[in-house]
């Protein structure tokens, strides 16, 4: 079965182009690590990893990494000019202290009012929390990058999370392979749909009310 919507690189580009130029952005484990590979260098985004790297970039084709320079997924990356290294105490001081303009995190579920569930499933006895709670709580803007549905097909964007929360009411933007959604005080608004996805398909894949994207420029009704 071919994947509907954006591939991971395209999905990462959707995240990347919504990062403010010159801002400090944490990339969490899983899918979000791909954002460092897809960002436009002209944006001069400075990527933070919970392990203490501040200022890294994805490797270029064929570039060899340093074993001690890895991202949240233990994947080799490279230090950018002006990088700085800190220990975990300082790395999480940065996170909790509000110095991150944004964090991009994976998730199991996101609710219509921005609750984030990303660390445990209801049934599993064993789970891992890592740095997600500190990041979700401390970053100025929490961006979730995830598949739109779980492996069993169930929606991951829901009215109310059934999975244990990472932090309540923190998510501001959700980027899936199907769409980009803003979490606004009055609900979820679709900002952009992947080219091969209709609003009705998106609604069917989502367990929460959605407002449609604005009409393309020049095709307004007014």
């Amino acid at each position: 079965m071919s994947r509907q919507g954006w591939d991971v690189a395209a999905q990462a580009r959707q995240v990347a182009r919504r990062l403010r130029p010159g801002s400090y952005v944490n990339l969490g484990v899983g899918m979000p690590t791909a954002v460092a590979d897809q960002v436009d260098p002209e944006q001069r985004v400075i990527f933070h990893c919970e392990n203490g790297l501040i200022g890294y970039r994805g490797l270029t084709d064929g570039e060899e990494g340093d074993p001690d320079v890895i991202d949240a997924g233990s994947r080799p990356v490279a230090l950018a000019p002006g990088a700085a290294i800190v220990g975990h105490d300082m790395s999480f001081a940065i996170a909790r202290g509000g110095r991150l303009d944004a964090t991009v995190l994976g998730a199991y579920q996101v609710s219509a009012d921005g609750d984030l569930a990303s660390w445990a499933t209801p049934e599993a006895r064993l789970s891992g929390v890592g740095g997600a709670m500190d990041l979700a709580l401390g970053a100025q803007r929490v961006i979730v990058m995830m598949r739109h549905r779980a492996r069993d097909g169930s929606p991951k964007i829901v009215r109310r999370c059934s999975y244990p929360l990472t932090a309540p009411r923190c998510v501001r933007l959700v980027v899936t392979e199907l769409a980009v959604l803003d979490v606004l005080p009055d609900g979820l608004t679709v900002t952009e749909l992947a080219p091969d996805v209709t609003f009705e398909e998106l609604e069917n894949a989502t367990d929460a009310p959605l407002r449609p994207p604005p009409p393309p420029v020049g095709q307004g009704t007014a």
Binding site: G22, I46, H48, P81, A84, I85, R96
Partner: protein
């Protein structure tokens, strides 16, 4: 955090051109954190700029309240710009400007142990709500404060100390605000940078971005908003 400027090439550049621009936005009533200890690591240009700005009613957190040196925080007391001082060693014999204001009842003083000052600043920077420390328990300095016995030892609950603006002194800075300090001039400077909404650095030397090895950055630029290069120093 202060708005960041960008140079034409798109590289974030936190350098500013003059002392007035460095402290722009400091307001009456602001909590200002000023680095320096024992006469070193003192951001004299920035203190002078705050003096020149004429802001008043400041809450000033600093290790001392002046040591009789022309560029130090003493001038802020002389000018009547400070409402309240938070310090560990305000009683320096040469701190006459502070002493006069204090004895006339024109300045309040919050005296705190040096380790507690350091930890309160760090707690603010680290996004913590407070901490329990054994320092000062059972002394006059903590009378009436919330106390809890932990592991058999009384501890005082100390709140974070946040600043609206931090004025700090570094040896080297790059345009991203990555900093290095020199010997004992490090002191309170890094944790004050962490604790403030807007952090302004007076640096002796500007180095190119990448000129400080990533493992040798003492304070990452994520805590720094503006850099004034003075070329002074060593």
């Amino acid at each position: 955090m202060a708005k960041r400027t960008e140079s034409p090439g798109g590289v974030p550049d936190k350098t500013v051109s003059d002392p007035a621009a460095a402290v722009a936005g400091v307001r009456d009533g602001a909590v200002v954190l000023v680095g320096g200890w024992g006469g070193i690591g003192v951001p004299e240009e920035l203190i002078g700029a705050v003096a020149a700005s004429g802001v008043t009613d400041l809450v000033l957190a600093s290790n001392n309240c002046g040591m009789g040196r022309p560029g130090d925080v003493g001038q802020l007391f002389r000018n009547g710009q400070v409402r309240r001082a938070i310090a560990t060693f305000p009683a320096h014999p040469a701190a006459t400007d502070f002493r006069t204001r204090f004895e006339n009842g024109e300045v309040e003083l919050e005296l705190i142990p040096q380790g507690t000052l350091a930890e309160r600043l760090r707690a603010a920077g680290a996004g913590l709500g407070g901490f329990f420390t054994p320092t000062g328990a059972g002394t006059r300095l903590t009378a009436g404060r919330e106390t809890r016995v932990i592991d058999g030892l009384p501890h005082i609950l100390e709140p974070p100390l946040r600043g609206d603006m931090a004025l700090i002194k570094a040896d080297q800075a790059d345009g991203l605000g990555n900093l290095r300090f020199r010997y004992a001039a490090r002191g309170l400077n890094p944790i004050m940078a962490m604790a403030a909404r807007t952090t302004v650095v007076q640096a002796d030397e500007l180095v190119p971005v990448g000129g400080i090895h990533p493992d040798d950055v003492h304070l990452p630029g994520i805590f720094v908003d503006r850099v004034l290069v003075t070329g002074g120093g060593r």
